[in-house]
Symmetry: C2
């Protein structure tokens, strides 16, 4: 056997791949590559090409995850997996999720090119639809890998009445065999991600070792009133659903700000979707839908806020003389703690790479939070410009991306020795 070379990443190639994937976007709304769209498929074709060129065996699992695999030297050992997601929010950025997928590809490529054969298999996973999809569900692929993608979810529909199961089939998944997506053969899941917050940049620290990932609960509220002519419906007789929605939205903001300021734990709540129907300037809105995103490090805070939201939205409906036709939990995830051995290994790897590292909590949800249910999971954060994310201005420098990817590679090499 030839003396193996020390694997090393190629920073320029890494950056070029990231930028190349970013060019696959809705032209008028950069950077948009939403799951289940033709553009998403185009992005996946790009990723598949890179994985195949790196010599990995590529497949799509039953939950629609794109997986590249490099076998190890010791048959039967569980795989060390790395990954994140390649889908974006509407008008999002080029880094959220994508950085973790591209970094994983670069690490696998570096290992393969070095001639080093690891003991464990190495996998690169592009998790399907981490961002909220058109079906109102997020982390579809990682849910599938941990047996949390159930029939009710597979029956969810988008605005056009398309069923998630059909959309999953169209991207190569197999909803009838969804149980086969569950993993019991992973030694670890490692996700590199931009911080999406301001801490690392402010502290001038290149590596964040994530301690825990917040739980996210999403609640959909629908108000039903009566559409009417804006000129002839007297004010006091109106059943304006948008009025109920606006009252609720304002109250959400006020209560969330107070709860966050109370200092009992990390807490944020957001209304990112407010739809008013039918949407003509001279029609009193008959329907309104809002989606509330609630995140906390403490499930008790989420419960308390949701109870208040229930009461507030009922009161708003009464005020506007409309029905609160729906108050539904779309998804609910508890906070996830990252694995201690993996965190320690990331710290050691950062040291070995000459990179400073600090512990940090994640305010955003991630595929790693689901993966923690089937294997030890951990995350490496890299800094990003002014904490901006889910916006076209999202940015990390080539140097920041390369430093994080080098630590990811070093972590995988060390885990290959430490893990059984």
């Amino acid at each position: 056997m030839a003396t193996p070379q020390k694997a090393d990443i190629d920073a320029a190639r890494l950056w070029d791949d990231l930028i190349a994937l970013g060019t696959i976007t809705e032209p008028g709304k950069p950077y948009t590559r939403r799951s289940f769209t033709p553009l998403f498929q185009e992005g996946r074709d790009f990723l598949r090409g890179r994985l195949e060129a790196a010599g990995l065996a590529v497949r799509i699992d039953a939950a629609g995850n794109l997986i590249g695999r490099l076998e190890g030297s010791e048959p039967g050992l569980p795989a060390i997996a790395m990954g994140s997601h390649s889908d974006t929010v509407p008008a999002g950025g080029r880094f959220d999720g994508i950085a973790g997928v591209i970094a994983a590809i670069e690490v696998a490529r570096a290992i393969r090119e070095s001639g080093t054969l690891l003991r464990h298999p190495v996998e690169v996973i592009d998790c399907l639809a981490e961002e909220p999809s058109a079906f109102g569900l997020s982390c579809i692929g990682s849910r599938g890998m941990v047996a949390k993608l159930d029939d009710a979810m597979l029956a969810m529909t988008d605005a056009d009445g398309r069923v998630l199961a059909d959309a999953l089939r169209a991207v190569g998944g197999d909803p009838e065999r969804i149980a086969e997506a569950q993993r019991d053969d992973l030694a670890a899941f490692l996700e590199l991600h931009i911080e999406q917050g301001p801490v690392l940049e402010a502290e001038r620290i290149p590596i964040g070792v994530v301690t825990a990932i917040v739980g996210i609960r999403r609640i959909e509220i629908r108000f039903e009133g009566q559409a009417a002519h804006a000129g002839t419906a007297p004010m006091h007789l109106r059943r304006d659903a948008a009025y109920a929605g606006a009252l609720t939205l304002a109250r959400i903001r006020e209560r969330a700000e107070a709860l966050a300021a109370a200092g009992e734990g990390y807490f944020v709540a957001t209304v990112g979707i407010m739809e008013v129907w039918p949407g003509g300037s001279n029609v009193v809105p008959g329907r309104c839908r809002i989606v509330v995103d609630i995140r906390s490090s403490d499930p008790a805070l989420t419960d308390r806020f949701a109870a208040g939201l229930d009461a507030d939205s009922r009161a708003a409906a009464d005020m506007a003389k409309v029905e609160r036709a729906e108050f539904a939990i779309l998804s609910d995830g508890v906070p996830a703690v990252c694995d201690p051995l993996l965190r320690e290994t990331i710290r050691d790897a950062a040291d070995a790479c000459g990179q400073a590292a600090i512990d940090i909590a994640s305010g955003a949800g991630h595929d790693a939070a689901f993966m923690a249910a089937v294997c030890p999971a951990a995350m490496i954060f890299i800094p990003c410009l002014r904490g901006m994310s889910h916006t076209p201005e999202e940015y990390s420098t080539p140097e920041e991306l390369a430093a994080g990817t080098a630590v990811l590679l070093e972590t995988v090499l060390r885990l290959d020795e430490r893990l059984d």
Copy 2:
């Protein structure tokens, strides 16, 4: 010359035409036939067919109005015009506007079939885009006929960046020769319309003689904040544009209700459009747009309300730490008074037809309000179910439509004798 028959309407044919036009709709969102869409063109093809079959000369003027004309016996006399509009709001009804166009066709058809040659020419006008179009402008065709469709309006764009002038050209108009659309050859403009309010139904009166039409001011407000990740942007640092929009919407409703209750005049204000951008459930909204529709019988009330709105929307922007990037008057119309001689003639015609009639103000804007700038104009209201309009449930009975149309015919015949 043969002894002319007394013209009479065919109630069954009238109803059938109205129902037939209603079938031309977005299938999933009845009844939707918005101006400048392929469906709108399909509706116009239907109307053109009916006009031609009735023996009228058909043309599209420079402002995109579809006009059918029957010449009179005395050359040089101005025309007696009847009409309304065939476009709908999204998910509107089958009667608003449409009843007036179909009734006008039936009246012209009845006159033509009777063998009676009127002294004056008779015109049927389907006014272009009375409802707010995708360009944010309403009454495009009637504005054109009264020289109020200016270059700034023709340069307005829709959400896809399409320019109104181009859309106008696509429906057969001619923006370069827009001045030619102006009418100085009309003796009267008569518009039959459903009441869109509850009065006639409640009073069991088949005919409303409209005294005046409210003025409508539309104001667009845009808030610009900063899109950010819903999980990592701390509550107290957010610049959430939807929060500013929601605060403003709630305040509009509260102040409008108070002003209407004060009894100083007819007053309503509506937010029918609220758009939140980018619209992902896990993104703090960076932009929000609302359109406010303000109507009153007294321009002073509109001015007072708009001044309060200006202050309220600034305060909401400050509260949400966002910019109020726009506060623009999209359109502004003063109240229009209906012509006394025409109103008297409608009353006489109703008497002659054995139909009770009352005076009534119009809370909705109409093409007739613009037409009043170039000729005597008046309106005939017919009852509608529970005052509902701009909803698929909008309804008048075949008998109510026929009674109104018979009064319209009788009015035209009488005006032909009374007018010079």
